[in-house]
Amino acid sequence: MGVSPSSGLRGWTRGVAPLALAVAVLSVLQLGLNAWDSYADGQAALGAEVFRPDFLVYLSSLVAVNVVLTVSLNIVNGMTGQFSIGHAGFMAVGAYIAGKLSFEVKELAISGLPHAVSDQVLFTLSLLAGGAAAALCGFLVGLPSLRLKGDYLAIVTLGFGEIIRVVVQNTPALGAALGISGIPQHSSLFMVWLWVFITVLAARRIANSSHGRSLWAIREDEVAAEAMGVNTTGYKVRSFVVSSFFAGIAGGLFAHFVPIINPGSFTFVKSMEVVVMVVAGGLGSTTGAILAAVMLTLLPEGLRSLFLAVGGGDASLAQKVDQVRMPVYGVLLVVLMLVRPQGLFGTKEIWDVLPKWLPRLPRAPNSPPARGKEAA
């Protein structure tokens, strides 16, 4: 399906402008963070303790990884109407390939470049290698299973996720069950959120292109789409490969900010977590996927702080209260599905939905019309 050159060019400029803006904003944030760190170091040398936002940065990285996972899975489960339940497997491929590569080259530096820049270049290359490996796996898994109609993809991706985990668990070079520690901590606030932007941009571009129209037709009725001349297998496989690529990137990012990666981080439970986020956001809605990933990542952490506070200073009581956290989280999800079975935004985007919700709220006169904030 050739997009005509003029619309391709327009699309290109449309993509570059927000990306440039994102790079600028993220650079400022990152530089601010770096400055604060050196200030804190200076104060520490003087013996003064200053607040360090390390935990917040960690939390935001977790959120970012989950957003990349959810937005990319939504391309398959939401936009294309297929059902993949093995996203953690592709994440694992990216995490292990990128992590292992970085681990092996951590003593190396590209001559002529400042140390930090050289690190980020090598990191980016590792990430891309991890993403490419995951994409290749996506192709190998997707091609045979997506040629068929029906829910073969679910079974095959489930199997794939488990196979990857078992293989890693039994490969000493990958740390087996113990995992790999000591991967250089290259994931910065800048890098993780830059990839969030790239993923979201890619997802939106797919949705708005002729590719998106084809996926939409496949999701609506695969047989009819085929009769219209849609190359259903081709489009399904392509969207699955793109989705796997970004899952691999998410894994790579993850591997570079956690102290250790082991098979336990990439189980079926992780895959289901991502599926839940996609469904909660609304199958097919990119902004819904973003919002759900942010909320459902922060919610358990928020509940933890809340419940630990309820427990107060009593450590054992605090721990006991903390144990109800996951059940409460589950109940909240059930409630969401009862109240909005189509997910937060259904198949729509936030800017389609918000204007309809807002008039019900009392509005100040002359307030500007509601617009989506995520219009990346």
Binding site: S4, R213, S214, A217, E220, D221, V223, A224, A225, E226, A227, M228, G229, V230, N231, T232
Partner: protein
């Protein structure tokens, strides 16, 4: 020669579609066993037969939605056996599938646009959509309505219109009369005649033999995956066997 009766004569026309010795299986079930048929340029050909005779399987094999186990399909004189639907649509084949297969959550207009999926001429697409609204005026009023909320007859009209949006030379129709009121069916068949007069060949599958044979220039009678009789529409309608088996006389 095939061993079945051939009634009446058939004026020679250059062939639009030639199917020979087509075999289709679903696992162990043999749906078609050596079916052969021809559709001439500008001809309406009816394929009639009871439920399960293999009519839908024939259309699905011809339009590339399923791969035949054996046999040969020529479109416009070129072999297209085994090609997929997305390769056949640009060659002038359009299929309005059984059960209509419209996109329920899209509007009438959007359904039509998807029918022109492989076309790039925006203006031509717009003009053809207007032409469809002329062909079926009720649909013009339903332009912005979700297709899933249309009546059965309107959905069938949409399904036919959508197939026409790819500018086909050959239109495959699977039971367009199914479940519709007689007046609606009449309107649809009148329009099919109009479509055919614009040089679109039609291969029409129907259980309603009377209806199909009155429109068709030529017809084939299908039983358990084989042609058991063929002939001109009029001769088949008059034949005692057809009257007994398919017209309930």
């Amino acid at each position: 020669m095939s061993g079945h009766p051939v009634l009446g004569s058939r004026p020679a026309r250059p062939p639009q579609l030639e199917v020979s010795e087509l075999h289709v299986s679903y696992g162990a079930i043999k749906a078609l066993r050596g079916l052969s048929l021809k559709v001439g340029k500008g001809e309406v050909v009816a394929l009639i037969g009871a439920n399960g005779a293999g009519k839908t399987s024939t259309l699905r094999a011809v339009s590339g939605m399923l791969r035949p186990a054996a046999g040969k399909i020529l479109l416009d004189g070129q072999e297209v056996t085994g090609l997929k639907a997305n390769e056949l649509v640009p060659r002038g084949m359009a299929h309005a599938p059984e059960g209509r297969g419209i996109f329920p959550n899209l509007t009438t207009q959007e359904n039509l646009e998807l029918g022109a999926y492989l076309r790039r001429d925006r203006q031509g697409i717009g003009r053809d959509a207007e032409a469809c609204f002329k062909l079926f005026p009720v649909m013009a009023e339903r332009r912005r309505q979700l297709a899933g909320t249309l009546s059965g007859g309107e959905q069938q009209m949409l399904s036919i219109s959508r197939a026409l949006m790819s500018r086909p030379k050959l239109l495959l129709l699977d039971e367009p009369s199914l479940g519709l009121a007689p007046q609606v069916v009449k309107a649809i068949f009148r329009t099919l005649k109009e479509v055919n007069q614009r040089e679109v060949s039609i291969l029409l599958v129907e259980q309603n033999a009377h209806l199909a044979l009155s429109l068709a220039h030529y017809g084939y009678v299908l039983e358990t995956g084989e042609v058991v009789m063929e002939g001109s529409g009029g001769e088949l309608l008059a034949s005692p066997e057809v009257r007994k088996a398919y017209l309930g006389e």
